[in-house]
C-alpha cells in the first residue's frame, strides 16, 4: 500500500463509521485531492461530507474550528504548508486556545493535514516546513508521519482524538510503499525505533528519515559502529522517554531534519539533551539540517539547501572521526 493510500484508507474507514467526520479543503472532492489522499471519498460520501472549499485557507481552518464547536469532526486539508500561513491566525489564536481559554468548556476534535517539505523544484513558496512553529504552540498535538503503517494508524488516532491535531505529511512520501498491519495496537504518539544500534542515536522524522536510513550502511562501515535510528512520529508530545533510553545507551546524538537549521525543531531535542543528559554524552551532539536560505528552484541549488544521503553520510563520518569513533 502507498502512503497516500494508507491515509485514504484511514479516512474512508472512519467516515464509514461516523457521519460526523467531514473533510474540507481545496480540491479534496471532485478533483480527488492534489496528492490523491481523498480520492474516491466524495463519490462515496457526497459533497456535504467532502467539501471543496474556495481558496481561502483562513476559512478552511476557521470553519473547521466552528464545525468542531458545532459537534462535527472535521479533517481539514491545507494543499501545501506554505498556504497555511494564511490560516495561522485560526490555528494559533483559535484552534489551539479555545479549550484553555474556555477552561475546558469547549473541545475541538479536529485535524488539519499539512503536506509540506522540499519536493521537486517547487521553489521558495511551495517547499517549506513549519513543524518548528506548530510544535511550539501549546494546545496543539503535532504528528509527523514518515511511515505507511504509522500514517494509517496515526491519522485514525488523530481523527478520533478530542483535541486539535496538526498532521504533518511530506510531499515526497505520498507514493512511498509499505505494509499496513491492521491489527497493530501502536501508540502513534510514541517514537519508533526504526533500527536498533548501540553506538550512535540518530533522531529524525518525515522524509529525511529515509535518507538517514540510506546513509547508515556507509556510516557504520566507515566508523565501525552501530547506529540506532529513531523516528520521532510525534512532535507534540515529544517521546523523551524513548530518546533518553537510546541516548543513555549510545552516549551520542545526531539530529537530522530537512528544515532550516536556525530555530529548527531539532534544536529543541539538542537543547533538551544538553539540559537533561549532558553527563551521558561522549560527544557533542551533531545537528544536520537545511541551510538558512529560502528554497531555490534550480535542482542543484535545491539539493544543496537540504541534507541528502551523501551529506548526511559525510557529516556523520567527519563528526565520528573527530569524536573518537
Amino acid at each position: 500500500m502507498l502512503y497516500r493510500e494508507a491515509l485514504n484508507r484511514a479516512l474512508d474507514e472512519l467516515m464509514e463509521k461516523d457521519e460526523n467526520i467531514v473533510i474540507l479543503g481545496e480540491d479534496v472532492g471532485l478533483y480527488g485531492g492534489s496528492y490523491r489522499v481523498s480520492e474516491g471519498l466524495v463519490e462515496k460520501y457526497g459533497e456535504k461530507r467532502v467539501i471543496d472549499t474556495p481558496i481561502a485557507e483562513l476559512s478552511i481552518v476557521g470553519n473547521a474550528v466552528g464545525m468542531a464547536i458545532g459537534g462535527l469532526r472535521p479533517v481539514a486539508e491545507i494543499m501545501t504548508a506554505n498556504f497555511s500561513l494564511l490560516a495561522f491566525d485560526q490555528i494559533i489564536n483559535h484552534m489551539s486556545k479555545f479549550h484553555y481559554m474556555s477552561n475546558g468548556k469547549i473541545k475541538l476534535p479536529m485535524v488539519v493535514r499539512f503536506p509540506q517539505g522540499v519536493s521537486r523544484q517547487l521553489a521558495a513558496q511551495h517547499s517549506e516546513s513549519y513543524e518548528q512553529m506548530l510544535s511550539a504552540v501549546p494546545g496543539l498535538r503535532v504528528i509527523s508521519t514518515s511511515d505507511v503503517n504509522h500514517a494509517y494508524h496515526a491519522l485514525k488516532k488523530a481523527i478520533l482524538l478530542d483535541d486539535p491535531v496538526v498532521f504533518i505529511e511530506h510531499e515526497l512520501l505520498y507514493n512511498k510503499k509499505g505494509e499496513v498491519n491492521f491489527n497493530d495496537t501502536m501508540d502513534p504518539f510514541k517514537a519508533r525505533i526504526v533500527k536498533e544500534g548501540k553506538d550512535i542515536t540518530i533522531v529524525s522524522y518525515l522524509k529525511i528519515l529515509d535518507d538517514v536510513l540510506k546513509s547508515v550502511d556507509a556510516i557504520e562501515k566507515e566508523l565501525n559502529c552501530n547506529c540506532e535510528v529513531i523516528d520521532l512520529c510525534s512532535l507534540n508530545p515529544i517521546d523523551y522517554d524513548t530518546l533518553a533510553k537510546s541516548i543513555e545507551k549510545t552516549s551520542r546524538l545526531v539530529m537530522v531534519e530537512e528544515d532550516h537549521k536556525t530555530g529548527g525543531f531539532g534544536s529543541q531535542i539538542v537543547s533538551w539533551v544538553a539540559e537533561e543528559l549532558f553527563y551521558s554524552l561522549d560527544a557533542p551532539p551533531l545537528r544536520i539540517a537545511g541551510e538558512d536560505v529560502p528554497i531555490p528552484y534550480n535542482r542543484k541549488l535545491e539539493l544543496a539547501s537540504i541534507p541528502t544521503v551523501d551529506s548526511i553520510t559525510q557529516k556523520v563520518i567527519e563528526w565520528g572521526h573527530k569524536n573518537g569513533l
Partner: protein
C-alpha cells in the same frame, strides 16, 4: 414585542449599564486588569440581539459582558471572570474578552477582530448538516468588515446558503480610526449586498433591533440562507479602559449621548407597554441588587489554584508525555 419581553430587555439594559460602570470602578481599584472594553451606550444592541435570537448559537467579540448576561449567564459568574476568579465563567483564564458558555450556546468572547466570523460560518455549516436551521448569529464591529475573514465568510455562507445571521455593530470606530478613513462608505451592509439579504437598523433602539433579528431568525428557520443586519450604534466610552477617547470631539460625544438607548426604551415602557413609574423603579432596583451581588460574589470568590495553570491545555492526556 410582548410586555414581558420589553420588561426583560429594559432590566438587562439597565443591569448591563450598571454592571459596566461597576466594572469600570473596579478596574480603577485594580480588582480588574488587562483590557476592559465597556459596552456603555451599546446596550440596546447587545441585549435586544440576544433576546431576539433566543435559539441557535452565538459567536461574538471581546465587548461581550452584556451579551453574555443577556444570553443567560449569571452576572456574578461574569463579574468573577473579570476579577480573574476560579468561579468565573472561564475559570479566570479567559478574562473580560473570553467569556464562554456552551450551555447557553455562547462561544466567546473572541479578541482577534473578525476571527470569530469563520468559526460561526463553520458552526452554521455543522448545524445545517445536522438538519438544524435555528441558525448562528455572529456579532462583529464595523472594523471587522474591512478584513479578509469577513469577506471570505460572506462568500462561503452565501455559497452554501448557510443559516447564519451576520450582525454588524457599527459604532463608526475601529479603536480610534473612523470608518470613513478605513472604508469607502459608512454603511457596511453594502459589502454584503451582492451575497445576501441585508437590512440596516437603528442600533440605539432596542425595539427596532429586536424586531429585525426576530424576523431574521424566522427566515433562517425557513431555510432562507444568510442574512446581514447592520445596526448603527455609539459607544459612550473609549475603545477600552486604556483609551482616553481623544479622537472624538465633545460635540460628537454630545450628539452620540443624545441617542442614549436607556431613556429611549424607558419612555417606550411607559407609553407603549403601559408600565408605571413604580414598576420601572422596581425593575431598576432588582438590577442594581443583582450587580451589587455580582461584585460581592466576585470580591469574595477564590483565585484559581496554581494547578489550574496546567489544566485544559488538552482535553485528553497522552501516556507518553514526559517533561
Amino acid at each position: 414585542m410582548e410586555k414581558l419581553i420589553a420588561q426583560d430587555i429594559y432590566y438587562l439594559m439597565y443591569l448591563g449599564r450598571a454592571f459596566e460602570y461597576k466594572a469600570k470602578e473596579h478596574y480603577m481599584t485594580g480588582d480588574i486588569s488587562g483590557f476592559l472594553h465597556l459596552d456603555i451606550g451599546q446596550e440596546a444592541l447587545s441585549v435586544a440581539s440576544m433576546k431576539a435570537f433566543e435559539k441557535g448559537d452565538v459567536f461574538t467579540t471581546y465587548r461581550e459582558h452584556i451579551m453574555a448576561i443577556a444570553r443567560g449567564m449569571e452576572p456574578k459568574y461574569v463579574m468573577a471572570e473579570l476579577f480573574g476568579k476560579a468561579s468565573g465563567v472561564s475559570g479566570g483564564k479567559g478574562g473580560s474578552m473570553h467569556l464562554f458558555d456552551p450551555s447557553h450556546f455562547f462561544y466567546g468572547g473572541d479578541a482577534i477582530v473578525g476571527g470569530q466570523i469563520p468559526n460561526a460560518v463553520g458552526c452554521a455549516y455543522a448545524r445545517k448538516y445536522q438538519g438544524n436551521l435555528e441558525g448562528v448569529m455572529v456579532v462583529f464591529g464595523d472594523g471587522a468588515t474591512n478584513g479578509g475573514a469577513f469577506f471570505e465568510s460572506l462568500n462561503i455562507a452565501a455559497t452554501h446558503k448557510l443559516p447564519i445571521l451576520f450582525l454588524c455593530e457599527n459604532n463608526e470606530y475601529a479603536i480610534g480610526t473612523n470608518i470613513k478613513r478605513a472604508a469607502p462608505f459608512r454603511e457596511q451592509y453594502k459589502k454584503a449586498e451582492p451575497y445576501m439579504l441585508t437590512k440596516a437598523v437603528d442600533g440605539m433602539k432596542a425595539d427596532e433591533v429586536y424586531n429585525a433579528i426576530k424576523e431574521a431568525q424566522s427566515l433562517l428557520e425557513k431555510g432562507h440562507g444568510p442574512i446581514f443586519i447592520e445596526a448603527y450604534t455609539c459607544r459612550f466610552e473609549g475603545h477600552s479602559m486604556s483609551d482616553a477617547n481623544l479622537y472624538r470631539s465633545s460635540q460628537e460625544m454630545k450628539h452620540c449621548k443624545a441617542k442614549d438607548p436607556l431613556p429611549y426604551f424607558k419612555n417606550k415602557m411607559l407609553t407603549e407597554f403601559n408600565f408605571t413609574q413604580e414598576e420601572i423603579e422596581a425593575v431598576e432596583k432588582k438590577a442594581d441588587e443583582s450587580v451589587q451581588e455580582a461584585v460581592e460574589f466576585a470580591t469574595n470568590a477564590k483565585e484559581p489554584s496554581l494547578d489550574a495553570l496546567y489544566e485544559h491545555v488538552f482535553y485528553e492526556e497522552l501516556n507518553n508525555v514526559v517533561s
